[in-house]
Symmetry: C2
Subunit: 630 residues, 2 copies
């Protein structure tokens, strides 16, 4: 391959398309989250989550897996076959953290671990400590389960992130040697090979974007073309487990292992963005509707089956058995962001609103208030005396045998500012509302756009344009679909709006706009085909999904016996809401005649944001509660 | 061990206690199902299912697994580690079929396969083709997963059945040698060892009942005492997967792998019956309530989790994800029957009614109209475009890689008449209503009780007492709890009854009684904590659970869009019912404001017995349908 392209912090952004898409992302340092929960979360991510992950890489044996290959550790191999990917995801998290803060605190750690990876890399470019140290005979010989390309993909993504964030190219050199090997072996004219766990596709497109190396894009395209032709020996979980059951262009339903489907879709969308192959986008449109209209949990989570960590059928969305893997939300965030970039304009709203739902709920719930305990599965209900499972414990755990989720949270939260804004020709788009400063990209001027807001606790967002702006530029601000009414006020006066979309106003120096969103708490129902949610309501306020925990209830009654009254919901202290509920008198027996539900006393019941459940102690919790029958 | 006790066809009965229990079973030949669905089913079982199973033992390699150890087959070992148990369950089925019909058609097959087992048996008494042929080093060395004692248990049960049914003792000799080995190695004073999959316990008690060999009962007791002390290394599924998380006497909730829990409970109840150890019965009472009041599907099925084939939490009973393994219903039938035997009298009603529910619904649904295709999992709902799993296919399959269910059905159906009646001092009890003849046991006389009925299609049951009866004898006939009103008429006139229990009348020569049950179709609801069933109703008639299949609907509307009106349900042709439903107008989008359900046109909708679903073609089906909100 040719030498690395020029890198700089100005390109510190995940998913930076080369091709002309309508929406282009802004670099991480250009968008500064100043206050509010997202800023606090990123701070905690940098101060607690990333250091915790770095520590766990030692504790869990991930780094020893490298050292033992160099004779520097006597340990046995530990962890699952894809344990290396934990390291690469943490490196990626560190890269975006450097982009955010300019910190140099991680430099010597990076020096050590990158050197470790470089020394373990074979002259061929191959590096995978499980294959090298445990089963060399399996090298590229059992792609359906070895995760070799999945691991390679995370190495490549970490390398791209470090190069973009810090101009650092030592890991990139390793990644390019590995990519060369993959291109030579599996590229056009080579062996037919795809990975059981998609992820390499999006990584190769990102490497292409950084280096301009077209062969990487071609390999990603080739892998997508090869998928769905039965190349992977299907095990007892079936070919749809790893989306090899049907060609990508004909695969319109999100099925099988949720994380694999969603990572695959991110890669497919990346290839569309760079090649303009419309047959891919058509499949992705159908996939997106399948995943989001019929298979998404209210929290912005995916996957209702534990056995194969899979999507269920349409409308199969049980609350207590929501698998809702944290990595699936991360994967969907990556994919939905690429769909937003690929969109023709204001159609981006539905993608931006989904990202908002995911960030404020499923993703936020996956990590606790200390930043060092994590959920792998994110159910929307926990019953009393719950019998939990390995990857779905009753409370957040510091790490997992399969530790994919914690470092995935770290790298995603570190890059969170990337999702706030984009630019199109002549316009800045604000997709996420947050207390933030956005430096205009050079094409729009040298000024700054400032959002001042207590969002999402407060519905007032003031937007100030400061500094120089090129004439005629515009600003598009997203109006969330959940706000029944909103008011956008500017120099021309105030205007009432209904429904979702973007408010488009002039981007003028000194301009000041005020957006007022309706944050009245609301009761939400699900589609009637979702059997698990029939006759039940959830409480939402703005983008925030609420839940009721047993911990907030009088010990005399049970969270599973409450029915919500159609009464106004009051805003309580510290992000809580207060609902009016009646207690259901438990019927005798299990099955019986169809008689009316007997309702008892009325109570005021506290609801808390779903993202904060279990922060006090594990125990019963519900997002969806029965409503008092009308 | 001592020579086998005298056996005769008069003891041809599964679970024949030695100890004085209030209820004692009648031999299979003494209870003849004459007409109606149960008689037809047993006929089909003998003519189709058992021969099909025998054929599959060749096709699937089970018999070759024995032959290869004798140098009589070149085949590799096939099937799972417990494949031998398929053979033993089929032998047991054949035994009860001999008891039913006196057929000699299976004799030469029995000669062959029993000789095969005897020749493979080691001089020590050990026999297990997977251990012997694949992993001799694992012999008794990995009891948590090798299933060796589970396999031994099925061998013993088959041997006991053959001895009871036909006086045949060749397999019994093999079983006794194997039991001797187990007693010597794991009995009192020996090694501490329990099996990952319970089943040996109940088998050892049955062997004790047949042979009087107390050491077998003691070994079963010892294994129950040892369980729940962490003797089995727990894997990623946890110790409760195989009920080793808590001592049996302290384990009041049915948890983990459903079949294992329920087989274990059958063994525990057997030990109580023979030893009178009340601490075991107290635990079993709590277990029974846990399994049946909070974890049983309406069809009489168990297990709501696919990942570990496990019970869910209390009230976790999703219809579409009901795992509801056929073997769990078989296991519960065995356990609940033992609870009935152990009961003090009329308390047997709840056990008998559960058995009725299981037999007419979950068990009947597990096999198709040809008798040669089977469900492993028995969901109560199938959605359109359902993505199925290996053990939970969209339609019944002729066999499974894990083939536990088909031969389990065969042995259970062959023994079905055993569940109809029992005897206590001075009384005959009729627990199941069916067109049948029951020869009185000697202690009650030499006569016959004849039930003449078209039950369950018809609610009239005529009972005639013919021949000699000892003076003062009584007859107890179960009145099902689902019949709101019933009339029992006899020589003394007619009497209206309300509620469940037993009608107790004189058992007199020439007496004639008529029981009239109310078979008006009814709408049933579930406990309010079952989120999956909120706002939904099921249709039942007598003991039969109904379902609606898309196959019976106008193609213009979908089974998932129906809401049941609270209108009278008509009885249609050939066991069908006709409901009044309205079509739910699908709301746009997935989640939205809490608005009233929009209902469209009214339709007459055909419902069929759940046990017959999928007999035409696979497709959408529902047992539970939303009801029109009151």
């Amino acid at each position: 391959m040719s030498p690395p392209a020029r890198t700089s912090t100005l390109r510190a952004v995940p998913a930076s398309p080369i091709a002309a898409t309508r929406h282009r992302p802004l670099p991480i340092p250009s968008v500064r989250l100043v206050g509010g929960p997202l800023a606090a979360w990123r701070q905690r991510n940098g101060e607690a989550t990333i250091p915790h992950c770095i520590e766990q890489l030692e504790v869990s044996g991930v780094l020893d897996n490298f050292r033992r290959l160099l004779g520097e550790s006597d340990a046995e191999f530990r962890g699952l076959v894809f344990a290396d990917s934990d390291l690469y995801k943490v490196i990626e998290a560190v890269a975006w953290e450097i982009a955010r803060t300019g910190t140099r605190a991680f430099d010597s750690w990076l020096d050590d671990v990158i050197a470790l990876v470089a020394r373990v890399q074979e002259p061929s470019g191959y590096v995978d400590t499980w294959i090298q140290g445990v089963a060399p005979e399996k090298k590229f010989a059992a792609l359906e389960w070895t995760h070799e390309m999945y691991v390679a993909g995370h190495l490549i993504q970490a390398a791209v992130a470090l190069a973009r964030a810090d101009g650092r190219t030592d890991l990139l050199d390793v990644a390019r040697r590995l990519a060369d090997l993959l291109v030579e072996r599996f590229g056009p004219g080579g062996e037919d090979g795809i990975c059981g766990h998609p992820e390499i596709e999006t990584a190769l497109v990102e490497l292409y974007r950084l280096t301009g190396e077209r062969r990487c894009l071609d390999l990603a395209s080739r892998m997508i073309d090869l998928r769905g032709h039965g190349l992977l020996p299907a095990g007892s979980l079936g070919a749809h487990y790893f989306q090899d059951h049907r060609p990508v262009r004909e695969s319109t339903a999100a099925v099988g292992h949720a994380v694999r489907q969603l990572y695959l879709n991110a890669g497919v969308t990346d290839v569309f963005v760079e090649t303009g192959d419309g047959s891919l986008l058509r499949a992705m449109d159908a996939q997106w509707n399948s995943a989001h209209d019929r298979k998404m949990y209210l929290s912005g989570a995916f996957g209702s089956r534990h056995r194969d960590e899979a999507f269920g059928d349409d409308y199969e969305l049980p609350s207590e058995r929501a698998y809702a893997e944290t990595c699936a939300t991360v994967a969907d965030l990556l994919w939905t962001w690429r769909m937003l970039l690929a969109d023709g304009g204001a159609g981006a709203a539905r993608y931006a609103e989904t990202i908002e739902r995911e960030v404020h709920n499923a993703l936020a719930a996956a990590v606790d208030a200390t930043g060092a305990r994590f959920f792998y599965a994110n159910p929307l209900q926990q019953r009393r005396d719950h019998h939990s499972e390995e990857n779905a414990p009753r409370e957040r755990a510091p790490w997992y045998v399969c530790a994919c989720c914690p470092p995935n949270i770290a790298r995603t939260v570190a890059a969170l500012s990337a999702y706030v804004a984009t630019v199109t020709v002549g316009a800045l788009w604000l997709h996420q509302l947050a207390d933030a400063e956005i430096d205009l990209p050079a094409e729009l001027g040298t000024g700054t756009v400032r959002m001042v807001t207590g969002y999402p606790a407060d519905g007032r967002v003031e937007i100030r344009v400061e500094g120089d702006v090129v004439p005629g530029a515009e600003l598009s601000v997203r109006i969330p679909g959940w706000s029944p009414r909103s008011t956008a006020a500017g120099p021309e006066g105030a205007r009432e709006r209904e429904g979702a979309g973007y408010a488009r106003v002039p981007l003028e120096p000194g301009a000041r706009y005020v957006l007022d969103l309706d944050l009245t708490p609301r009761l939400t129902t699900a589609h009637h085909r979702v059997d698990a949610l029939r006759g039940a309501v959830a409480v939402e306020r703005g983008p925030v999904v609420y839940c009721v925990e047993q911990a907030d209830l009088d010990a005399l009654f049970d969270v599973d016996d409450l029915a919500v009254l159609p009464a106004p919901i009051n805003v309580g202290e510290r992000d809580t809401l207060v609902l009016r509920c009646r207690v259901i008198n438990a019927a005798d027996g299990r099955y019986g005649p169809d008689t009316a539900t007997e309702l008892g006393d009325e109570h005021a019941v506290t609801a808390i944001p779903f993202s904060t459940w279990g922060n006090r102690a594990p125990g019963p919790m519900r997002v969806w509660l029965p409503r008092v029958p009308r």
